[in-house]
């Protein structure tokens, strides 16, 4: 633990923090789902929040995106402009609208009866509302709305191409195969124009080809918009490839924090994933160190 904190402290100095979670706690009745959890995510990076099943990852996500109100703690979002938002004080929709944090869901939540294109247009709701003079000017046929409407379709087209869904634009979202639905959900979140994109298990249930397409999309997101990504995974192998920074959660507490290489070799992480008793951790550490020595 001590070594982990020192490395983060070292990196914090040089990097621009986009999201800062401090002493986050979440209690459900008698259950402490998250206990004094702190971490930082940096601008332009892909940060992964990993941990075994039931570690509380989705709860952290729901706190960040406002679907749960945390029992304690502070979540600060710092935008590029330097503006800061305390996310635990905002209602959920304002977190997307003002703080510019967008999210996806573990069980995909698309508007399955709307077409793929419509899904992306709904995501631009706030922009279009403003352009349509809160419906009234738009209803009267003011040109400003027509222009905005055209632009919104262009933006949707851009993300459809990025997500390689352009051929399916006029099909109902519910008709897409699973992997395409995952990509559509990400494209939809990007249409809200976020600075931080939170992905809840984006690779779950994808086949290798779909995983590859997802990787392309995520790299595209970073390159095009410079948006930072925070993602949840429980599968370590996926995370290690794409993320710059990994935070490990177990039983609602942080057990490791650092770059993938560091986390991969952290005995506590290994113990958490292999599920060993506390007193066996020492043995695992010894084993890992032995293996590393062997490899060298």
């Amino acid at each position: 633990m001590a070594s982990a904190t020192t490395t983060t402290a070292a990196t914090t100095m040089t990097k621009d923090v986009i999201l800062k979670v401090e002493h986050l706690s979440m209690r459900f009745g008698g259950l402490m789902a998250i206990n004094d959890f702190s971490f930082e995510a940096y601008r332009g990076e892909i940060t992964a929040l990993i941990g075994p099943n039931g570690a509380g990852k989705t709860t952290v996500f729901n706190c960040i995106t406002g679907f749960y109100k945390p029992t304690m703690g502070m979540i600060t979002m710092r935008q590029k402009s330097g503006k800061e938002y305390l996310l635990e004080r905002l209602p959920d929709f304002e977190i997307t609208k003002q703080a510019k944090v967008a999210r996806t869901f573990q069980n995909i939540r698309l508007f399955s009866g709307l077409t793929v294109l419509e899904n992306l247009l709904v995501a631009q709701h706030n922009n279009l509302m403003r352009a349509s003079g809160y419906t009234i000017l738009g209803l009267l046929g003011f040109p400003a709305y027509k222009q905005a409407s055209k632009e919104s379709i262009e933006l949707a087209k851009h993300w459809l191409e990025r997500a390689s869904l352009i051929d399916r634009a006029d099909d109902p979202a519910g008709d897409l195969p699973y992997g395409a639905q995952r990509r559509l959900e990400i494209a939809r979140a990007m249409c809200t124009g976020p600075e931080l994109l939170c992905l809840d298990e984006p690779a779950a249930g994808l086949n290798p080809r779909e995983s590859l397409a997802l990787n392309d999309l995520l790299q595209g997101v970073r390159k095009d918009t410079g948006a930072s990504i925070l993602l949840i995974e429980h599968d370590m192998s996926v995370v290690m490839e794409i993320s710059d920074h990994v935070v490990v959660l177990e039983y609602g507490q942080k057990i490791s924090d650092g770059n993938p290489e560091f986390v991969k070799n952290d005995p506590k992480v290994i113990a958490a994933y292999l599920g060993v008793e506390d007193d066996e951790v020492e043995d695992v550490i010894a084993e890992v160190e032995g293996e590393e020595g062997g490899l060298k």
Binding site: T58, N62, F67, Y68
Partner: protein, 300 residues
């Protein structure tokens, strides 16, 4: 004080009737998640069945004992209402199970309209008054309690005990509770889900028919529109108690009965239904799970 206790007794009587109807709502909602809008009309149908049996009895056997007459009325009404509800479930609700969720609600509303109009067409639109069946009134510490009220409360208590036994202690009740929890899993474990649902409708209708008989005896009149208001109130009772919960339905029924009679006694009889409906709205808005219901957790 005497006045208050008097109203309490009146409220309890009324509440027993609501409670018995509410059980049908709560059970059906629990097991297939639909508001059986036609349930109030099944209650009305039960009342009419009892009325006709009463007329048959009085015209065929002039000096029939009241207890026997009531028993026969109740049993025939239970059988008829059960058969109706069973048929309705099979014909109108079963084909829609697992489809679009609004469809069963619309069908149930359609059934409700059809049932009340069926009675209007076959039995005529007028009020059907009957001579009082039991008229003894006892004076207990200055409070007048009629035999009717005692019968209603006693019948409710007995039936609810039997009913509680069936649901909690028999394999049938177990199948019912299992189906309520998870229909698919219950089917996988060898429970005949269709049969269980049918039985639920039969039981609900039988209780509603008893309530209908009691209603006829208590007020001495029944009319084809009688299904709606008692139906909505019983539904309110089910919601107030926590929909899906059987003790909740009874408790809710009693509460609604009490509120209604106390409101009429102390405030305004004109606005008694407004009071009931307002309570329904307030409960649902502030505590949607009701008094004894389990709260529904929103999963993100």
């Amino acid at each position: 004080m005497q006045y208050f206790v008097q109203q309490l007794v009146n409220g309890l009587t009324l509440g027993s009737i609501y409670g018995m109807i509410a059980i049908g709502y709560t059970m059906v909602y629990g097991i297939i998640g639909m508001i059986n809008f036609a349930h109030g009309d099944i209650f009305m149908l039960g009342g009419f069945a009892a009325l006709i049996v009463f007329l048959v009895l009085t015209s065929l056997f002039a000096g029939v004992p009241v207890v026997l007459a009531l028993l026969v009325m109740m049993i025939v009404a239970m059988l008829t209402a059960a058969l109706w509800n069973w048929t309705i479930e099979k014909v109108a609700y079963r084909p829609l199970r697992g489809s679009f969720r609004l469809a069963p609600l619309i069908t149930a509303i359609g059934m409700s309209i059809a049932l009340s109009n069926f009675i209007q067409v076959t039995q005529g639109p007028r009020n059907k008054p009957i001579p009082p069946l039991v008229s003894s009134v006892y004076d207990v510490f200055g409070i007048s309690i009629s035999l009717k009220q005692i019968i209603i409360i006693a019948v409710t208590a007995i039936l609810l005990t039997i009913f509680w036994y069936i649901v909690n202690k028999t394999p049938l009740g177990r199948a019912q509770r299992a189906t309520e929890q998870d229909r698919k899993m219950a089917a996988l474990l060898g429970i005949d889900v269709d049969r269980t649902i049918s039985v639920t409708f039969i039981m609900g209708a039988a209780l509603a028919a008893v309530a209908g008989t009691m209603y006829l005896m208590y007020y001495g009149v029944v009319v084809f529109t009688d299904g709606f208001i008692p139906g909505v109130k019983a539904f309110t009772a089910a919601v107030l108690g926590g929909i899906g919960s059987l003790p909740g339905a009874v408790l809710g029924g009693l509460l609604i009965g009490l509120i209604e009679s106390l409101w009429s006694a102390y405030f305004s009889i004109d606005y008694k239904d407004v009071a009931t409906f307002s309570i329904l709205a307030i409960v649902l808005i502030f505590k949607p799970s009701g008094i004894l219901g389990r709260p529904e957790v929103e999963k993100v």
